[in-house]
Each structure stands twice: as structure tokens, then as C-alpha cells.
């Protein structure tokens, strides 16, 4: 019996799905048929775009939300509420501003009913381990971002969990601070000084995943699925400039752009062209900025995505959004980790403002069906006005409320730029007339 227990993996996820109900009655699936096991002694990364359900999976493991179907086991027991032996580090740090560093760290121990003296000792040990000595009585607002996240780590480690969950723990920090903290964590892990057995980290930063993880699960979006599992065999400490490291990063970029066809929701087998097309509200300034940058020296219309990301100081995720928008409008296309301008894109780069607007309007009407629909409805109605609600509900037949929101926002901002139609935010009304 005991033997069996110790052999059960720490976490065992089988065919887990999660959907959220919508007011219209249909459910939106955010996670579909996901399998995952976590054994002792490994760092596993969940890598994916925003909206790929990786945070949802993390919260299912943390016992904060329950799966709609499928099996979620922690050491062989079904997860029903937060299991003991799992603790979490949050992207936003999630510290209690009215508690001191020490009190914040002691929180989990208090919940377990550890007595005062023991609590103090364990907390001071954790604070010591994580490099927070001397800050015990400070309040979170007195600390810098990096120090705050250290408190977050200390609070999670002090209960000596078997599994440490990290929800994008470094993405709210500036680049330098994030790197320092990351290296410190990896060092502690390699030296075996962390009182934990395994780590699960959620991230959208490709290099971070390659730097830290033994195994990376790449998620695809809408609905979230595991697209590929990648083993990272590079020895620690890893060097970002190592050719093998670069190669792996490039491969993952390629893998993720391959899948970066316009985000669609399959409806009755028809992939989401038409009204099911999900748009990200990317500013037209940024779109034309990127086109100009690509058209100019030294790229001449073609560039490597990781290079562009580094140059523009953008997260891969952010760049994907912009690249996708350009691909959707046929100004560029993405493949194998490259972004390539189309002929239209090159023409656009050399046009003056008014001509650009005209070309943008043409592409918008042709390639974004929702925009075409709105324009048609406005043309047909005698009043030349239509409430946004009409289109929102139509979009919501295909996507979640928040996606419909984003899509509508993108439509409004792009159409304003293209001068296709006007939108009044007060009355939530589309109309043909532009203010004089």
C-alpha cells in the first residue's frame, strides 16, 4: 500500500477539460483533453499564448477551480479543494499590504496551526534562504518589486510544499530584476536547498522556459491543448548564448508561429473565418510602425521573430498578436519563426497617410467579415446607424464574452483609422456619418 502511494506521481492529469458557461447558454471551452504528469525532482513548464488555458490548468492543480470533466489527481487522490503540499507564487505577488514581511510569510503556517515558536523559526529560515534578512518588519509597500516577489517565494516555500506552482512569477518585474531572481531560484534548486520536490511554472516567455525547465509543454490556443512536449536536456546552469540553447528557442518560435494561424473557434467543422474570427485590439500605429520597420534596412521585408522581439523589446506574445493582425489583413505572413511582408505590405510602407488609410480600408472590408457585415448593415439601413449590441451578440455566438469585447474593440479602432464608419461610445452606436 505504502509502496504504491510513493509510486503514484505527484500530479496526474488525464483528459481534463474545462469550459465556462456563458449567458447565451453555450459553453466556452478553454481547456480540452489535457494530459500531464509531474514526477518528483523535475521542473515542468507550461508555455503558451495568453488565453491558451495554461493558467486555468495551474488553478485546477492548485484546487482553486475544478475541471469540467476528466481526472485530476494529486498523489493518487482526486483534487477537491486546495491539496496540502502544494503552494503557489503569483504574478501579482498577492501580498497582504497590511501584514509585515514576517506576517505574510507566516500566513500559511498559521493556517496549518503551527505553534508560535516553531512558526517564527520556520519563517525566519525561509526569509533567510530567499535573501530577505533585515526586511522582516517591513511592509510590502516599502519594498521594490523584486523584493516583494521574494516575499512571495518565501511565503510559498515556508510550508515545505512538494510542488511549487508559479504563475508567471517574473513577468511583472523589469528585465534585470527578473533575471537576478530567476538565477537565484535556479541556483537554489540545483544546490538542492529548496524545501520542495517539483516545480510547475506557467510562462509565455520562451527563453525563460528553456532556461529553467526540464520539460516544456507548448499549448495551443482556442481551446487550450497541449500542442507539443519538449524535453530540455541542457545541463544547468544554462547559457543563453550557447548555440544549442539558441537552436531550441528558435525551434519553439517556429513551432508557435506554425500554429499561429488566425485564432479561430471551430464551429460545425468550419474553421473560424467569418464571424468567428477573434481579433486583438492592436493599435494601428504599432501595425504601421512594424510594417515600416520590416520594409526598411536591414530587413527588406523579411525578419527573424526572436531578433525583432529583442530589437523592439517585446514579449513573444505581444509580437505574435501584431504579427497575426498583419497576417490577417494580408500585409505580412508568419512562418517558421519568420515574419515576411506581402506585396501589399511593401506598398503600404511607402504610401502617404491618406493612401494608407484607403488601402487599409480595402483590406479590412475584404478580409475581416465582421467589418464587412457592419458596413453592409449600415449601408442598408435608412438611418445608417446600428447598435453595437446587435453585432456583439452575433460575435458571442462564436466566442467568449471577453474575446467578443476585444474583437469589437479592434473593429472600432481599425475602422476609425480606415474611416469606414464611426462609433459613438456613449450610445454604443455604429453610424456612417463622421463628425464634422
Amino acid at each position: 500500500m505504502l509502496d504504491q502511494m510513493s509510486k503514484a506521481p505527484l500530479i496526474d492529469i488525464q483528459e481534463v477539460c474545462r469550459s465556462f458557461p456563458k449567458p447565451s447558454g453555450k459553453d466556452v471551452v478553454v481547456l480540452e483533453n489535457v494530459d500531464l504528469t509531474i514526477k518528483e525532482g523535475e521542473i515542468v513548464g507550461l508555455l503558451g499564448r495568453s488565453g491558451s488555458g495554461k493558467s486555468t490548468l495551474l488553478r485546477i492543480i492548485a484546487g482553486l477551480i475544478s475541471p469540467s470533466s476528466g481526472i485530476a489527481l494529486c498523489r493518487g487522490d482526486a483534487i477537491d479543494g486546495p491539496p496540502s503540499g502544494i503552494s503557489m507564487v503569483f504574478q501579482s505577488f498577492a501580498l497582504f499590504p497590511w501584514l509585515t514581511v514576517l506576517q505574510n510569510v507566516e500566513l500559511g503556517l498559521e493556517a496549518k496551526g503551527v505553534d508560535r515558536a516553531e512558526r517564527r523559526k520556520l519563517a525566519l529560515d525561509a526569509i533567510d534562504l530567499i535573501g530577505l534578512d533585515g526586511f522582516e518588519n517591513a511592509f510590502p509597500k516599502e519594498l521594490s518589486g523584486g523584493m516583494r516577489q521574494r516575499v512571495g517565494f518565501a511565503r510559498a516555500l515556508v510550508v515545505h510544499p512538494d510542488l511549487l506552482l508559479m504563475d508567471e512569477p517574473f513577468s511583472a518585474l523589469d528585465v534585470l530584476t527578473a533575471e537576478t531572481l530567476r538565477t537565484d531560484m535556479i541556483d537554489l534548486w540545483i544546490e538542492g536547498r529548496m524545501p520542495i520536490k517539483s516545480v510547475l511554472i506557467v510562462t509565455h516567455n520562451i527563453e525563460e522556459a528553456v532556461l529553467m525547465c526540464d520539460r516544456i509543454l507548448v499549448f495551443s490556443s482556442n481551446p487550450g491543448r497541449v500542442a507539443r512536449e519538449i524535453k530540455v536536456d541542457l545541463p544547468h546552469p544554462r547559457n543563453r548564448l550557447d548555440p544549442a540553447f539558441r537552436q531550441l528557442v528558435d525551434n519553439i518560435y517556429a513551432l508557435m508561429t506554425q500554429r499561429a494561424e488566425p485564432k479561430t473557434v471551430a464551429m460545425e467543422g468550419i474553421p473560424g473565418t467569418g464571424m468567428g474570427m477573434v481579433l486583438e485590439p492592436v493599435s494601428t500605429n504599432i501595425l504601421s510602425g512594424l510594417i515600416e520597420a520590416l520594409a526598411g534596412e536591414p530587413y527588406h521585408g523579411k525578419a527573424d521573430l526572436p531578433v525583432i522581439a529583442g530589437l523592439l523589446h517585446m514579449e513573444a506574445d505581444e509580437l505574435f498578436h501584431i504579427g497575426e493582425a498583419l497576417q490577417l489583413l494580408r500585409f505580412a505572413h508568419l512562418s517558421e519563426g519568420d515574419i515576411v511582408l506581402t506585396e501589399a505590405g511593401k506598398t503600404f510602407a511607402h504610401m502617404a497617410t491618406d493612401a494608407r488609410k484607403k488601402l487599409f480600408a480595402e483590406h479590412l472590408l475584404t478580409y475581416v467579415p465582421a467589418v464587412g457585415l457592419i458596413r453592409r448593415v449600415l449601408d442598408e439601413r435608412p438611418s445608417h446607424t446600428a447598435p453595437a449590441e446587435r453585432f456583439r451578440s452575433e460575435l458571442e455566438d462564436y466566442m467568449t464574452e471577453s474575446y467578443a469585447d476585444d474583437t469589437l474593440k479592434a473593429i472600432v479602432s481599425w475602422s476609425r483609422y480606415a474611416e469606414l464608419f464611426a462609433y459613438d461610445e456613449n450610445s454604443e452606436l455604429f453610424s456612417l456619418e463622421n463628425p464634422q
Binding site: 486546495p82 503552494s87 497582504f96 499590504p97 498559521e110 493556517a111 516583494r148
Partner: protein, 577 residues
């Protein structure tokens, strides 16, 4: 909060007590003595009220003021306890929420002085022959003026907790009790302290009004500033009124300096922000207590008590099955619950209808509604006048930082001052010049509440971003265009906040403002306020109930149809930053 001091007893440089210790000790001992005295006086037999009649001798005023203050303090303690329990229930249980929140909403618009009629009799019967009953009735009146908005604030805080902190509490498996003291209460603290302050400000009005009250044949005169004023009115003693005004000023200043300033300064650490910003509120009293070493001894038992609360562990209940109840079962329980509530409401309306129909006909309802419209007209006109006066004045003051720094606390102070103490001065003028009571009694309604508009407008103007002011100036935006395009939209949300408080207060004040007397002269002007006041004096309960119901409907509709949409509009469109 267990306060972690970095330098405990070991680093004391001297054993001699400091001046701070002495001052702090005196303050604490004084407080204890006062509470004991108040307790003894409140449990005295009722007959002492007759054997030791009130006197207009100003030397008695400190004692009267003390009694008034203690009533206030008791009410605030009850309000706090009520708030914690009621708000938690409403926030934690979906089914409780469905009933509790609408009830709270209605309670907020019930005229508090109307309550007094029933509660005085109720509490007198509860403690026959003791002053306690009358005291409790007064405390209850103050409680009803304070508790509702505090509860709302707490409830809203509990519903709007940051999601990540909730997840921390859940994933560390904090017990309900632990979560309440570590997350729920601290997060709600700043809003709660602010609302408690606002409640206090409104409360002085009711404590004064509730100390001398006549219901039918019963006349209760509790020793206090309010009853002192009532006696002064009867004896037409203007000098005594002046004494009372001064006493009240002192009382409010003491409360502000010794209770609220320290509280606000202390509660600052609960503000939910991750970076320190702005000027931290300070309080010399709090500094005094923090500096005095003696306070550690005095505070020790409280700390001990608090630690007990903080670390208290409820016995964990065994989990009843899985957390996931089936949807069908949950929906069935919803229906049963809804049916129960509807049945209860139907029974309540049946009871009230039967009670009222004995002595009230439809014509009475007509009278009350017509009176309601008269009072509504007064409120609307007065609000318009107050707006026309105080918005420009507030903007003018708000644009001058050094001036607004001085005027702002004054306006806040005037809002707290119970205007009913100053009523006689106006009545004397009306009687003296033979003015039309129908018109000239009306301003009394807004006498105490107009300040809310003023101090909110000042706050709004002061908070108006200076870059926008500069932009307006550099584009030569002046005159009416500056008012309409720049400053009025900028202060709108603040104005609405002030106006909501002011109009609500005016409805309440109408009950004491539409009937005023000086000696034997009584001035009455038709309106819903005087309707309720006269029914109260006559002990005519059915008409009091009718008046309250009508006023409640008027206030609720007024809020729903005018203020809420305006507030939502201001929040959505005009909130800066």
C-alpha cells in the same frame, strides 16, 4: 493588529517615565472614569429623571455633554458589531444576500426620527422603571442613522476583494475565521473608517433630536445637550442656546481629535496599494500614544485580547460530501428559499394592512402623498439653491490650495454640527419679523446638510489635475466655457456624492424642521415632515407608519430615478484618472 516593534523592552535607555507617559496615562484614566460614570447614570431608576430636573445652569453642561458623547460612542460600537455580522452574512451567502441587501437599501431611506416613536415605547417596556430603556431608545435612534452606510461599505469591500489575495487565502486553506481577520476586515478598513466618520457626522443631529421626545403621553427627557436645548427653547433662553452651541463645538472637536484623526492615521496602513503615495494622514494623539512607553503597558491587555481573536481556531467541521453539489439540488433550494421569503413578505403586508386599515382611509393616504410632494418641492428647490451657491464658492476655494486647506476641515466640521441646535435662532427671527413660515422654515432642512456639497466640491476642485487646468489656461478657455467644459465635468462625481448625502439628510431633517417652536409659539408648515412629527406627538401610530412608508417611497424613488443614474454617469464618463 499585533504590532511588531523593532526595538522592544531591551533597548530602553531610561527607566524614568516621560511626559508622554504622563499625558497618555491621564487620558486613559479619564476615559475609564467617564465610562464608569456613564454606566452608573444610565442604569439609574427612571424616577431620577423627574427628581433631578434639567437645569440651564451652564456648569451642568459638561456633564450633559458627556452623557451625549457616551450615547454616541455606544451607538457606534453597536453599529460596528452589526456591520461585521450583517455584511459578512450578505457577502458570504448568496441566498442571504438576495434578501439582506434590498432590506438594507430600504432601511437607508427610512426617516430615522420616525423610528423613535415605536422604539421609545418598545425599549421603555423592555426595561420598565429604568433609565436604561430611554437611553437605549436614544442609542438605537443614533444606531439607525449610522449602521446602514457602514454596512454597505463593508459589504462592497468584501465583494470587491482582489482576486489574487482571495486565491492566496484559499490555497493556504485559511479557515473562515482566519480569513475574516486577515483579509476581509483589513481590506474593508479604510472604507469602513471613512463611513464611520460620515455616520458620526450625521449622528450628532439625531442624538440631539432623540434626547427630548414626546410620544403621546410619554415625555422623555434624557440629560444631554439635546434636552438642554429643548428646555432652553421652552424657557426662551437665547443665552443658554449659545452655551449649547459652544459645548457642541467642543464635543465635536474632541471626537475628531481624539477618536477619528488617530483612527484615520492608523487605518492608513490598510489602504490597498502596493506603492506608497500621497501624504500620509497624521494625528498628534496617535503620535503621543505611540511615543509614550507607558502605552505599551496599557495596550498590552488589548493586544493580548486581539492576539486571542487573531489566533482563535474554530473547530473544523467534517466536510459534508463533495463540495460540488448538483445544480438541480441547488436550484431546488433556491426555489424553496424564494417561496419562503415571498410568503413571509406576504404575511407581513397582510399584517400591516390589517393594522392600518382600522384607522386609516384612502383619503389619509392622499393627504400623506400630497404632503410628500410639498416636501419634495422643498428639497428640490433647496438643493438647487444650495448648488447655485456652494458650487461656485467651492470651486473658488478649491482653486486656492492654502485657503482650501483651512476651509475644508471647517466645512466638514459644519456638516457634523447638529443644525437643530441652531434652529431656535432662526425661529426667533421668523417670529420677530413675522415672516411666512411656509417659506422661511424650509431653509432649516438644508442648514446642516448643505456643507456636504461644499466640502465635496472643494475636494473635487483640489483634486482636479493641474495639467488640465494649465491646458485650459494656455488655450485661453475662459468664462462660461471654462465652467461648462473644464471644471464642472471635472468635479461632477464629487458633487453628486455630496448632493446624495445632502438630499438624504434634508428629508430626515424635514421632520424636525417643518415644526419649530419658541416658548409657546409654534410654527408649523404643511409637509410630510410635519405630518410625521404631529402624528408622533399625538401618539397616532398608524399615521406615523403611513408617513414613514410614504417618505420611504419618495426617498427611494428620488434616489433611483435621479441620483443613481447621475452617479453612474459620473463614474463612467467623468471620473478622472
Amino acid at each position: 493588529m499585533t504590532h511588531q516593534r523593532s526595538a522592544p523592552l531591551a533597548v530602553r535607555r531610561t527607566l524614568l517615565p516621560s511626559l508622554w507617559d504622563l499625558l497618555a496615562l491621564l487620558l486613559v484614566v479619564g476615559l475609564i472614569v467617564l465610562v464608569i460614570y456613564g454606566g452608573e447614570a444610565a442604569t439609574a431608576p427612571l424616577s431620577t429623571l423627574d427628581t433631578t430636573p434639567l437645569s440651564l445652569d451652564p456648569s451642568h453642561l459638561p456633564i450633559y455633554a458627556l452623557r451625549t458623547m457616551l450615547r454616541m460612542l455606544t451607538a457606534i460600537v453597536f453599529s460596528l458589531i452589526f456591520t461585521l455580522i450583517y455584511a459578512s452574512l450578505a457577502a458570504k451567502s448568496r441566498r442571504a444576500e438576495m434578501v439582506l441587501i434590498p432590506i438594507l437599501d430600504i432601511l437607508q431611506s427610512v426617516p430615522i426620527l420616525g423610528f423613535l416613536t415605536f422604539t421609545v415605547t418598545f425599549f421603555l417596556n423592555l426595561f420598565p422603571g429604568s433609565v436604561m430603556g430611554a437611553e437605549l431608545a436614544s442609542v438605537f435612534a443614533i444606531f439607525t442613522s449610522q449602521a446602514w452606510n457602514m454596512t454597505f461599505s463593508m459589504y462592497q469591500s468584501m465583494r470587491n476583494q482582489p482576486k489574487d489575495l482571495e486565491e492566496v487565502a484559499k490555497s493556504f486553506q485559511l479557515s473562515g475565521w482566519q480569513r475574516f481577520w486577515r483579509l476581509d476586515v483589513p481590506f474593508a478598513m479604510p472604507g469602513l473608517v471613512w463611513n464611520t466618520m460620515m455616520s458620526m457626522s450625521g449622528g450628532w443631529f439625531f442624538v440631539v433630536a432623540s434626547e427630548a421626545i414626546t410620544v403621546g403621553d410619554t415625555t422623555i427627557t434624557l440629560p444631554g445637550v439635546g434636552s438642554y436645548v429643548a428646555l432652553a427653547i421652552k424657557e426662551q433662553n437665547l443665552l443658554a442656546i449659545a452655551y449649547a452651541v459652544v459645548t457642541m463645538l467642543v464635543v465635536i472637536i474632541i471626537y475628531d481629535q481624539f477618536l477619528f484623526r488617530p483612527l484615520v492615521a492608523w487605518a492608513d496602513k490598510f489602504r490597498f496599494e502596493t506603492t506608497s503615495s500621497g501624504v500620509e494622514p497624521t494625528s498628534w494623539v496617535l503620535d503621543l500614544f505611540r511615543r509614550a512607553r507607558m502605552t505599551r503597558l496599557i495596550v498590552a491587555p488589548f493586544q493580548w485580547l486581539f492576539r486571542l481573536v487573531w489566533t482563535f481556531r474554530l473547530p473544523t467541521l467534517p466536510k459534508l460530501g463533495s463540495r460540488r453539489t448538483t445544480q438541480a439540488a441547488s436550484r431546488a433550494i433556491d426555489w424553496i428559499w424564494l417561496t419562503l421569503v415571498i410568503a413571509l413578505a406576504a404575511w407581513a403586508s397582510y399584517l400591516s394592512f390589517n393594522y392600518l386599515k382600522v384607522s386609516i382611509g384612502w383619503s389619509d393616504v392622499g393627504t400623506a402623498v400630497v404632503d410628500g410632494f410639498i416636501t419634495l418641492l422643498r428639497v428640490v428647490v433647496l438643493m438647487a439653491i444650495a448648488t447655485l451657491i456652494w458650487v461656485p464658492v467651492g470651486v473658488w476655494i478649491g482653486l486656492r490650495p492654502s485657503l482650501s486647506e483651512k476651509v475644508q476641515p471647517l466645512a466638514q466640521f459644519l456638516a457634523a454640527f447638529p443644525a437643530n441646535i441652531a434652529f431656535p435662532a432662526f425661529v426667533v427671527l421668523i417670529v420677530h419679523f413675522g415672516l411666512n413660515a411656509d417659506i422661511w422654515l424650509s431653509p432649516l432642512m438644508i442648514l446642516g446638510t448643505q456643507w456636504y456639497i461644499l466640502f465635496n466640491v472643494i475636494a473635487g476642485t483640489a483634486a482636479f489635475p493641474s495639467d488640465l487646468k494649465e491646458a485650459a489656461r494656455s488655450f485661453h478657455i475662459q468664462g462660461w466655457r471654462w465652467w461648462v467644459k473644464v471644471i464642472l465635468p471635472g468635479i461632477f462625481p464629487y458633487y453628486v456624492t455630496g448632493a446624495i448625502t445632502a438630499s438624504g439628510g434634508s428629508w430626515n431633517a424635514s421632520i424636525v424642521a417643518e415644526v419649530a417652536s419658541w416658548g409657546n409659539t409654534q410654527l408649523v408648515t404643511p409637509g410630510l415632515g410635519s405630518y410625521i412629527a404631529q402624528a408622533t406627538t399625538a401618539g397616532d401610530y398608524p399615521r406615523v407608519v403611513l408617513g414613514i412608508v410614504v417618505m420611504c417611497v419618495f426617498v427611494t424613488l428620488f434616489n433611483r430615478l435621479l441620483w443613481r443614474p447621475l452617479y453612474a454617469f459620473g463614474e463612467r464618463r467623468l471620473r478622472l484618472g
